[in-house]
Amino acid sequence: MAPAGKALLVLALLASVYGLFASVYGARTGRHEWVDSARRAMYVLAGMAAIAFVILDVAFITSDFSYKIVASGSSTTTPFLYRAAAIWATQQGSLLLWVLLLSSWSSLALFVTRHRVRDIAPYAQAVLLGFAVFFTALTALFANPFNTTSPAPAEGAGLDPLLRHTTMMIHPPMLYSGLTLMLVPFSFAVGALISGRLGAEWMQVTRRFALAAWLCLGIGVLLGMRWSYTELGWGGYWAWDPVENAALMPWLVATAYIHSIMIQEKRGMLKVWNASLVLLAGTLAIVGDFLVRSGILSSIHAFVSDPTLNTSFVALIAVMVIGSIGLVTWRREGLRTEAGLDSLVSREAVFLFQNLALVALTAVIFWITFFPLISEAVTGTQVSVGPPAFLPFVVPLALIVVALAGIGPIIPWRRVSAAKLRRSFVFPVAVWLGTMVILAFVSGVTRHLFAYLMFGFGAFVVATVAQEFFRGARARRAMTGDSPPAALAGLVRRNRRRYGGYIVHAGVAVALIGVAASTSFQHQRYATLTPGQSVRIAGYKVTYVRPFATATAEKISFGAVLSWSKGGQHVTTMRTSYGLYPSQDGLRPVGRFFETGDGASVESHVGLQAGFTRDLWAAINANIAPLQSRINQGDVLFSRLLAQDLALPAARQAAQLRIAYGLRDELIQVLAQRYVSHPWAASFKLEDSPLVTWLWIGAIIAALGGLTALWPMPPGASRRRRRAAGLRPRATAPPDRSPSEPIREPELV
């Protein structure tokens, strides 16, 4: 089916090129039939991308090694689910996934807006189809996943062991969904700027897409952190890796954007800012994809560098940046603000400060991430900077953002009286002060200022959110007489955007408490132990109980059973192992199963005892050097044996080879068991990290809050809310005649 896949990609490219020109023609001439036809071209593109994706995935699942990328990224020993997900572990396959997601999300956006924003949509459609042309052309012409090889190899190289992790099956699609969804509001912003329709309508239409992009990116980042923590064997969840930062930056800008659009919707303010933010978020989404695909910055997550792709991406990013600046400058008159800040003590002012902090955070991360390239351009030498370069800037800005996340919900829009302000702040400030005072008496906490302040601000945010829910539910109860749980549920159901947002604030605060605790109060220890030996860490005694080894067709694992105890009481027993996947080195029939050098396919299986107060974590680096002499002997022996077998007549060759490979497999089992029977020393990394679990819990809370805000109102709710009450305006300065449509009374609950 490879020719069909190739043909579909060419057809998809033709459809997207047609759609792009039909959109522009329809927009310029006002002929809707061309715009409609172009929109259908996007649907067709999505359909073709889906069929091509299925064809390719079937090739992975059935281990059809005539496809080059299947041979290089999968194997018959790769478990089924990983084979199904291996498609996006390759540059070509992930480009096809990108095309599929981009066209699918674009189709959804164009479908739901087909009767709205009719001045803007044709241009937005043209921009989305422009992106589709770019990525489909890359896939069809420069990184075609349907390229084949003949004769097909009998076995594939296998999926990178580091990617054999449950979260890796969901992480890339979530990240790509976030990045491609970000292009929807970007495209509608461009459409609004070109058409001059600069009101709030295009924002209302695309708000859910921006929120969905934020949610998917956030979940993607979270899954990547979880993978890093449980798979990479270095003990952390965030390394300020360029590709990690590439996903974080558009997420931060999107966070700023979904707050600041509320100011434009309500006050007609910050139009230039909002247009710039959404254009920046879209551009950063492409920059993020570029960093993953280009490998221009050293990253464990990046694909191998490809000059053609790099040049194409740089050109696209240049067009986006120059075009965005040009459009905003061109429309600066229409983007003039309609109102000013009534008071610095208002929600819009808090949002503004929060926006500034988030954009500053993004700017810092961008600068430090790209500093190696900047330094190379200026001095000719690439200067690497690590996590310590980020922290002095990121930590204070993160504290400001968290503090504002607590202040924002309790301050109303426009203005507030001093008495009401005091009343609103009493409970959260009391919680904040109480937390700070209690923690001051807990040994060691105040020595870590960042963590100390983050605990205080985190408690403040949680208190403000709790207060908001309590007050809202009480108000609803007073009006409806519902029971407290029903009032709370009704409140959230009727005000999903507001209360979903509050849940997100609480989740982020909880997550950052987990980050502060686990980074500031973590204990780490490296130790080399033989079975029976012990080492102490953070009051725990860790004993290397016994080694174990397993050899399967997929991999060989060397591991250890560790026992953790405290004060003489047994706490937990955990297993950690070090897995070696066979290389393709045909000259070493035995040694290829024991490769540990550079480029070897190895994985860590960490030992983890997670709890609400602390995580106990261990990773082994097994020492198999004592096996090396026997491995070398095996190589010599079996190379000779296999050479003899291959010289036999074809009729006897297969049977003899089967016997030889059987003997080799027995030798591998013997070598693996020798590791168990001989008490060699192994190296361990041990960690005691407090409150890490709260990072994951907080992130899940935030994701649930995002889903709450994103979830559509139940059918009929909008209609009920829009029901005219027949009331005349209570305006202080009534107009000379009433409008034909009466003001609708707000339905609070």
Binding site: I51, V117, R118, D119, S740, L748
Partner: protein, 99 residues
């Protein structure tokens, strides 16, 4: 099999994409005016949401009665202004008022 699949997809794509071009469309009303109405309706809905938020802020104790009265009055005046502009835009566009 592969050729059949590609031809079927191609035929479906051509049929789907060309469908709007194959029907004679009547001239639509001015997009510009319709967009103006849609934009004002969006502004109206946003203003209603703002009135509603102010009401919620009052009931949850964030706004005093005086503050709420001032804000609500101002918001309603802005809403009335939008409704007047909406009336004018609809008249221009030939849409019945209050639609």
């Amino acid at each position: 099999m592969a050729y059949v699949l590609v031809l079927a997809v191609l035929a479906g794509a051509v049929y789907l994409i060309s469908a709007p071009l194959r029907v004679v469309t009547r001239p639509a009303r001015s997009d510009h005016d319709a967009a103006e109405v849609a934009e004002l309706e969006a502004a109206r809905d946003a203003k209603y949401a703002e009135i509603r938020d102010a009401e919620l802020d009052l009931r949850t104790g964030k706004l005093s009665d005086d503050d709420h009265a001032a804000i609500d009055g101002s918001l309603r005046a802005e809403a009335v202004d939008i409704l007047h502009r909406l009336d004018r835009a609809r008249e221009t566009d030939g849409i019945p008022s209050g639609a």
